[in-house]
C-alpha cells in the first residue's frame, strides 16, 4: 500500500471514528464537526510520532497535548465546555488493544502476559492524562501573560 493512501485512510477513519463516538455519547450538534477535526489532528500527530520511533508513551502524550490545545481553542470559539471536544477526539488514542489483550490473557490463565498488558494500559492512560494536563497549563499561562501585557499597556 502506498504511503499517501495510508495517510488518507488514517485521516478519513479517525474522523469517522471520532464522530461515530460523538453520536453515541450525545454531543451537541454544533460541536460534532470540530470534534471530528480535533480527532484527526490528534491521531495524525500520534501516528507520525509513532512512525518516527518515539515510542508509545511520548507519541500518546503529544497526541493528547495537541487535542487538549485544540479543544481549548474550539471551546472559546463555540462557547461549549472543553470536554465536548476532548472526549470524542481522544477515542482513537485510548488503549483499547492492550486492555482487551490483558483481560483475554487473564481469562486464559496467562498471568504474566496479562500483567505486562495491564502495565501498558496504565502507562498509556497516564501519558494521555499528562498530555491533557500540560495543554491546560500552557494555554492558561499564555492567556495570563497576554492579560498581563495588555494591562501594562493600558497603564502606560
Amino acid at each position: 500500500m502506498p504511503f499517501w493512501l495510508e495517510i488518507i485512510i488514517n485521516i478519513a477513519f479517525s474522523y469517522i471514528a471520532s464522530v461515530g463516538f460523538a453520536l453515541t455519547i450525545n454531543v451537541p450538534h454544533r460541536a460534532l464537526n470540530l470534534a471530528g477535526i480535533s480527532g484527526i489532528v490528534g491521531w495524525m500527530v500520534y501516528w507520525f510520532a509513532a512512525r518516527a520511533g518515539m515510542g508509545r508513551m511520548l507519541s500518546n502524550l503529544m497526541g493528547a497535548f495537541i487535542i487538549g490545545i485544540l479543544g481549548l481553542i474550539f471551546a472559546r470559539i463555540k462557547k461549549c465546555p472543553v470536554t465536548v471536544f476532548n472526549i470524542p477526539a481522544l477515542v482513537p488514542l485510548v488503549p483499547g488493544v492492550p486492555a482487551y489483550q490483558a483481560v483475554r490473557a487473564l481469562v486464559n490463565g496467562e498471568v504474566f502476559k496479562g500483567e505486562a498488558a495491564i502495565l501498558r494500559v496504565a502507562i498509556v492512560t497516564c501519558a494521555i492524562a499528562l498530555g491533557i494536563l500540560l495543554s491546560t497549563m500552557i494555554t492558561e499561562m499564555f492567556y495570563r501573560t497576554k492579560k498581563f501585557y495588555k494591562a501594562r499597556k493600558n497603564k502606560l
Binding site: 500500500m1 495510508e6 485512510i9 488514517n10 477513519f13 479517525s14 469517522i16 471514528a17 464522530v19 461515530g20 463516538f21 460523538a22 453520536l23 453515541t24 455519547i25 450525545n26 454531543v27 451537541p28 460541536a31 491521531w43 462557547k79 461549549c80 465546555p81 470536554t83 465536548v84 472526549i87 481522544l90 477515542v91 482513537p92 485510548v94 488503549p95 483499547g96 488493544v97 486492555a99 482487551y100 490483558a102 483481560v103 483475554r104 487473564l106 481469562v107 486464559n108 492512560t125 497516564c126 494521555i128 492524562a129 499528562l130 491533557i132 494536563l133
Partner: protein, 257 residues
C-alpha cells in the same frame, strides 16, 4: 417577615444549584467544572459565600446566610455531553442577567426531563462506523476482510447494551451482557467465514463501550486534586473494563474459538 423570605430564597438557590450539579455529574463532567458552575450560579444569585463539595455519588452545598446545608444523591452516571453543555449555557445566560432566577429554575427542570438525544438508528450507525474504523486504525495491518464484520458486531452489541439497560438496575450487568452478545455474534461469524480473525473484530466492537474515557477523566480529576472523585471513577472504570473484557473472553473460552 423578611426572615421567612430569606429562607425561601436560600431554599430556591440551593435547589437550583444542587439540580445543576446533579445534571452535570450525570452527564459526565469533571468535578472542578461542576463545583465551579454551582459556585457561579450561587454567587450570581447574590449569595456571599457559597460552599460546595461534589463527588460522583453525591453533591453537598451550604450557603452562609441561611443556616442551610443540603445534599443530593446521584444514582446513575453515564456520558451525555448535551446535559453538560445545556447547564453550562444556562449558567452563562444567568451570569449576564439574560434570565431570572425563577426562569433558570424552570429551564433546569426542563433540561432534566427533556434533553434531546440523537435517534437510536443514528447512534447505532455511529457505533458501527466507530468499531469498523477503529479496528483498522488499531490493528495497523489494513485487513479489509474483518471490516464489515466489526461494523455488524459493534452495532448489534450497542443495541443489546441500550435495550438491556432499560430492564435492569444492576450496574455493569448491561455491559457484561452486551460483551457476551458481541462474543457470541463474533464466534458465529468466524464460524461461517473462517478467514476472519476473532480478536480483531472484538477489539473494534468493544471500543463502542470501552471506559477508556472514564479512565482518562478519572486521572484528570486526580491531577486536579479531587482525590476522592478520581479514585471512585478509577474504580468504576476498572469494573466496567472487567465486565466488558470478561464477558467477551468467557464466551470465547466457552465456545473454544
Amino acid at each position: 417577615m423578611s426572615n421567612q423570605q430569606d429562607a425561601k430564597f436560600y431554599q430556591e438557590v440551593l435547589d437550583i444549584c444542587l439540580n445543576a450539579g446533579r445534571l452535570m455529574i450525570e452527564g459526565g463532567s469533571e468535578m472542578y467544572r461542576v463545583e465551579d458552575t454551582m459556585l457561579r450560579i450561587a454567587k450570581n444569585a447574590g449569595v456571599e459565600d457559597p460552599r460546595v463539595f461534589a463527588t460522583p455519588t453525591c453533591v453537598f452545598m451550604s450557603l452562609d446566610g441561611g443556616d442551610l446545608s443540603q445534599m443530593k444523591q446521584i444514582r446513575d452516571r453515564n456520558i451525555n455531553l448535551e446535559l453538560v453543555d445545556r447547564v453550562n449555557e444556562l449558567s452563562r445566560q444567568f451570569a449576564v442577567k439574560k434570565i431570572s432566577l425563577s426562569e433558570l429554575r424552570q429551564k433546569i427542570i426542563d433540561v432534566a426531563t427533556a434533553t434531546p438525544t440523537f435517534p437510536l438508528w443514528l447512534q447505532v450507525l455511529g457505533a458501527a462506523a466507530l468499531s469498523a474504523t477503529l479496528m483498522v486504525l488499531f490493528m495497523d495491518d489494513y485487513d479489509w476482510v474483518d471490516f464489515p464484520a466489526a461494523a455488524v458486531v459493534g452495532a448489534v452489541g450497542y443495541l443489546a447494551y441500550v435495550y438491556f439497560k432499560r430492564f435492569t438496575n444492576v450496574r455493569f450487568l448491561s455491559e457484561l451482557v452486551a460483551a457476551m452478545v458481541m462474543g457470541l455474534v463474533t464466534v458465529g461469524i468466524t464460524h461461517i467465514f473462517p478467514a476472519m480473525i476473532t480478536d480483531n473484530i472484538l477489539v473494534g466492537a468493544l471500543m463502542t463501550l470501552v471506559p477508556g474515557l472514564a479512565l482518562t477523566n478519572a486521572l484528570r480529576d486526580l491531577f486536579m486534586g479531587d482525590l476522592l472523585s478520581g479514585v471512585v471513577r478509577l474504580f468504576e472504570a476498572t469494573l466496567t473494563a472487567l465486565a466488558l473484557g470478561g464477558g467477551g473472553a468467557i464466551v470465547i473460552k466457552f465456545l473454544g474459538a
